[in-house]
Symmetry: D2
Subunit: 423 residues, 4 copies
Amino acid sequence: MRPIIPDYLAEVLGDVEPDASGEPAGYIPELAAADPDRLGAAFATIGGEVYGVGDSDIEFTIQSISKPFAYALALSDRGFDSVLAKVGVEPSGEAFNEISLESDTGRPLNPMINAGAITVHSLTGAEDLNPAERVERVLHGLSAFAGRRLRMDEAVCASEMETAHRNLAIAHMLRGHGILTGDPRPIVEGYVRQCSVLVTTRDLAVMAATLANRGRNPLSGDQVVPETVVRQVLSVMFSCGMYDAAGDWATQVGIPAKSGVAGGLIGALPGQIGIATFSPRLDRHGNSVRGVSLFERFSSDMGLHVMEVPAAARAVVRSHHVVGSGPGALRVLRLQGGIGFAGAERIVREAEEIPSSDVRVALDLTRVHSIDDVARRMVLEVARRLTLDGHEVYLVDPESIIPDPDPGDGGRVTVVDTWNALT
Amino acid sequence: MRPIIPDYLAEVLGDVEPDASGEPAGYIPELAAADPDRLGAAFATIGGEVYGVGDSDIEFTIQSISKPFAYALALSDRGFDSVLAKVGVEPSGEAFNEISLESDTGRPLNPMINAGAITVHSLTGAEDLNPAERVERVLHGLSAFAGRRLRMDEAVCASEMETAHRNLAIAHMLRGHGILTGDPRPIVEGYVRQCSVLVTTRDLAVMAATLANRGRNPLSGDQVVPETVVRQVLSVMFSCGMYDAAGDWATQVGIPAKSGVAGGLIGALPGQIGIATFSPRLDRHGNSVRGVSLFERFSSDMGLHVMEVPAAARAVVRSHHVVGSGPGALRVLRLQGGIGFAGAERIVREAEEIPSSDVRVALDLTRVHSIDDVARRMVLEVARRLTLDGHEVYLVDPESIIPDPDPGDGGRVTVVDTWNALT
Amino acid sequence: MRPIIPDYLAEVLGDVEPDASGEPAGYIPELAAADPDRLGAAFATIGGEVYGVGDSDIEFTIQSISKPFAYALALSDRGFDSVLAKVGVEPSGEAFNEISLESDTGRPLNPMINAGAITVHSLTGAEDLNPAERVERVLHGLSAFAGRRLRMDEAVCASEMETAHRNLAIAHMLRGHGILTGDPRPIVEGYVRQCSVLVTTRDLAVMAATLANRGRNPLSGDQVVPETVVRQVLSVMFSCGMYDAAGDWATQVGIPAKSGVAGGLIGALPGQIGIATFSPRLDRHGNSVRGVSLFERFSSDMGLHVMEVPAAARAVVRSHHVVGSGPGALRVLRLQGGIGFAGAERIVREAEEIPSSDVRVALDLTRVHSIDDVARRMVLEVARRLTLDGHEVYLVDPESIIPDPDPGDGGRVTVVDTWNALT
Amino acid sequence: MRPIIPDYLAEVLGDVEPDASGEPAGYIPELAAADPDRLGAAFATIGGEVYGVGDSDIEFTIQSISKPFAYALALSDRGFDSVLAKVGVEPSGEAFNEISLESDTGRPLNPMINAGAITVHSLTGAEDLNPAERVERVLHGLSAFAGRRLRMDEAVCASEMETAHRNLAIAHMLRGHGILTGDPRPIVEGYVRQCSVLVTTRDLAVMAATLANRGRNPLSGDQVVPETVVRQVLSVMFSCGMYDAAGDWATQVGIPAKSGVAGGLIGALPGQIGIATFSPRLDRHGNSVRGVSLFERFSSDMGLHVMEVPAAARAVVRSHHVVGSGPGALRVLRLQGGIGFAGAERIVREAEEIPSSDVRVALDLTRVHSIDDVARRMVLEVARRLTLDGHEVYLVDPESIIPDPDPGDGGRVTVVDTWNALT
């Protein structure tokens, strides 16, 4: 069978390829010299499959796409309180190189602008690391996200350092506000090294997929950062990842994302997929022109917008009936599908209507596909209250979708593999 | 059985009740006179169930919570292009009453700040409506979201108009930029009337649930605005709904939301639930103190954050085996659960490994709970390509989860109710 | 004899005449329709002579040039404290139509920007005037500055009112901050009427000369506003009169000035002259292109810069000698020229060296041309201390340059007409 | 005779002495350790007399008071065009440490804010100086203004450098905009050294007097910078010298001034006097509290406001009469006082009325005290036109107030010592 997803990717790439608008970043020769016609895209699923098309194996510097990953590392290494004390989470509505410090505290508004990212770099690893150790910690962390050992482009790094006037200005300003505590120059150097890490489009897709997969790299299986960190990072990417085009992106594409000045662009759709594209020509906001077009197509074709309401599902309560009669009668609620709060609420309502005369009640989970935490707790609470009302409660759960069920104070359930056994 | 959800709501309300911090809005006597101890909360499910606790039936003025709904009406009535030409979608990072116009065009940055909301009011209904007709169009629309005929608080309205200096200033500024085209005063009056609509916490929960339910009111069943409009509105609420605390809210609560100065607060979680709270004391951002606490609890307890990765589900491919042998052998892919892009990608991969010697292939959808658009198209493409490779393809779909399946050019599928029949 | 000053004016006018750069204000048809080639200039001396060349008798609307005069009227009518409480004196460094309010108080930064000028209009006349009376008060005041009854251009006024969106916005904003206390619309209308007063270039020169002449109209002799008010107005004109080109003007021209959008431009050099020019084409700051050129020439040719150090003068102490000998000897200090602090200091030093044996001392003021207040007090103090040291002190003051001299506690002077009488 | 000026100074110092409000600058220990009770004041006349009272011989660091002098040096060393290309002259209306760069060019708004002053430091001396040579050039220049060799406080300098984060930030920003062209750090170090120069209040008064005296040090007689430079510096001091209190200062005190964070404050009144005060406690604008009070007193007592209209002088035309009759008759215009444009204009008018029958005309300058350039040219033009009209013109000028008079094309004058000789 001909491969479907590569075919799709190739088709979309072909559609955007002719667009030669925009300009590659030209502030350092190394970036200006990039082949502006390069075009690549990659999908990485949370199952660990990676699909790349076009120039998806060409290396380029990660640049600002390192920002959300370094933010994740800092949150992991120092904890939320330490990081939030120094870098906010508010959209700035400004261009990437605006200083955007809170007027009273000097705290950068968010970790996606340079001021925030420089501060975040200084917050990675333990406090007592020296600059080289800190760079190694970041490189190690980015490599863990990518699932392979990454390396730096020393030429780009050196060249960036020569024109790092604005970043040095920002760092000195941050030092003046006490947001940075050490010598600003090595921190900027470390940040510039972080931005000079070489990645391919495939790497970026895997890195994004690691975010989409609750922080676990779908290739290596490593838990790179905790789940709570990922939620924070994705939220900030959604609001602040695309600079002053953040609102357009949030409405039209709707995927937490980050762009880099070398032409990379990533998107991470929680629980689904990591996407990356590469095309060096940038629009006036500093985002890759064809990268944005690709994401618009992906989002539109595949319904990836986070505010997209999922397809209407079958009712969670597949059937509700009484088997047998008399004292041995069994009331059976057959459930199905994925159960979240909304589904659990439906189950609660059905349960409330069970007459007290129906002593035996079975909740059949055989066809339940997934159940989230709040729904699991609600189902167990249903079981507990039914027990308190004098019912005998059975969970039909042959595949242990609720492992080790404990309805709590006064509740009691009997787990069985099939309700046929109860009749 | 004692009701679970009201119990939960009552418990959380009890926890936040003692917090008397913050101050009710005091700029007009009518708001200052509100009982600051009022506290209510309501959930409205997309299935149409509404749970209210505390003062959830007390009426108060909707104020800024009208903004996302009026925005939805304007997008419906005039189309995206007309509205986007006059009001942007970028977060302002500023307080609600900042002017925040784009420096070149005078376009308000987003529809959640007053400048944007006044402009949006002027864009509701047909262009040739007179001011009274426009107000009626908005009132009618808000009523459709709530599922009952709403009315205005004339005293609040008159009082607001007396101190509407800043809004008049903004409107004249917008008129100067050509963003407003008529006399600014009646537009501000219309906007003030829009803000003076009386709602209960239950009403607001239903209004939010209508957004969560793709624009269809779960009580009345009316499609109030199109799905695409809802996606736009929710995206903007997520980035801009909570003023200069938008980033904190996005990271900590993670629900598209909007607050009003009378103490109301709504959140809409796509595909799940509408939530509303009411407590008049406000924090320095103008958001209800206890309302914010309630939402933090709800989000945390119930895993409602939009960036929360859903619970790991059972594998989409439940089993993959061959039944029988020889030419009559049947390869069966038993699928289960809810299938989105990620699940469909898994199916594609399995299908690619089917040897051409296995002529007969059955895709068993019996235990599939839901399938979204892109996944449906991918499954049909699998069927088409298998056909082209010489396979006979069967869809086992007793409940027509893929109604009227058409694999397209060169593809052919036979739908059956059970694969037992094929063996 | 052929007239010198008109010749000079005509020559300079001829030099700038060919410059057709810039554009007349075009926001209302009445201004756009002005003949852009008009060119006039006028000097008015504090002695009451007026020299006009070119189109110096053509009427045009005063526009923003009314601002310093209305400010003078408000300071006179309400006092410094009342006015300063509502309008600051800080340069804004911004364009004329920027709102520029102090962030905390809402006070306009200065009376030369529109926000300040609208507020100032509301502060002219008694507090209880109705809008028409206030306009009449301003018109009467401007007429007093000009020395003839002025009138309004009703067409310009009506047309301005139609497009006064931004000024209405500003006024409503000021009302919101409590800076304006009445209905904003009639205040803006009054301000627009103030701006629509018709003046000729000659009128403007006389108005400026009234400021240069300590507030006394050199034609009519009327004291239009007090001297202290004039000092305040001139200071503010120097810092804020030329919008965001104020610094360029202050350094290059150095004359307190104000421009108007109809093409007028005035400058007032304290104690010397009022100058006005008229040429409708404006530069990007909103200042008349050829008007600015004319002032640059005037300032440069005539040494009118306020920071220009006056020509080195003859020594104040013309001679210091002793006439006669023995007990009848007379020590004579012959003074000359204009005496300010610096001259008086020189006199003090000479006096300190008078030996106590020289009993009789004459201060000869015959050739003193002027003496300012501080110098007068210092000379009298010299007299007093000489008396205390046992000297007999004579003032030779035939023209009473120090009328009614009183050296104060313990001092005594004898005034004579000529020191010859003393020998 | 008891000295008058020291008495006056002592009296005013005594009046402000009890005011202990404000706080000394505390950002470095060396400044915080200053005795906050220090109080000194000094006057330096353009005649070279210096009066000091209180702690006027205590040394402290010059800090920002170095800015106008370094600006003067840069203008002298590089020319107006080079300096104006890099530093503007517009008031910023902002605090001293605001960055205040023009948004397009990155040019600091004026040389009195730190961004401008750092740039100005880099523009002193020849372009090819090394950092140490540049510091020496500035030190040499400041010493020339003070009239004695100054030296630096190395402890303050070192301490300032340790906390120079903000200035380093500004310098890197300026480097990014190409306003600075070398390595920012040594430029900031040089600027910090410039600010660490030790001066006494007397030194500052002499430095200010040098500005008041057209750039010529009244003690040493050296022309430190050209006159045109002084005019520029004084203009900028007037608009921008007192930070965000510039407008208050301009209206209330009205003397071009500059304050320093160590407590110094200078004012230079063109053609009259240099004033300096020293008191370390600062107000919220960073200006010395008692220094401001002293200047308010000085300005008010002594009429030093630049917009103060000078005292009404005697008429320039003392008399106008005809002596003798017949062909030998002589028309005599007896002039007196100081003659500027306004006086010359009066002379012109008198001259225009001379009938052609009065052949012989004498302009008697015996009692003229001073005549400025434009007036001199106008008087000579009068002579020329009278000649052309057939008159014989005599200048009675015994003291050569118009040396070497040349009325130009067609004019002819005869200089005599007394008009008696002509009759």
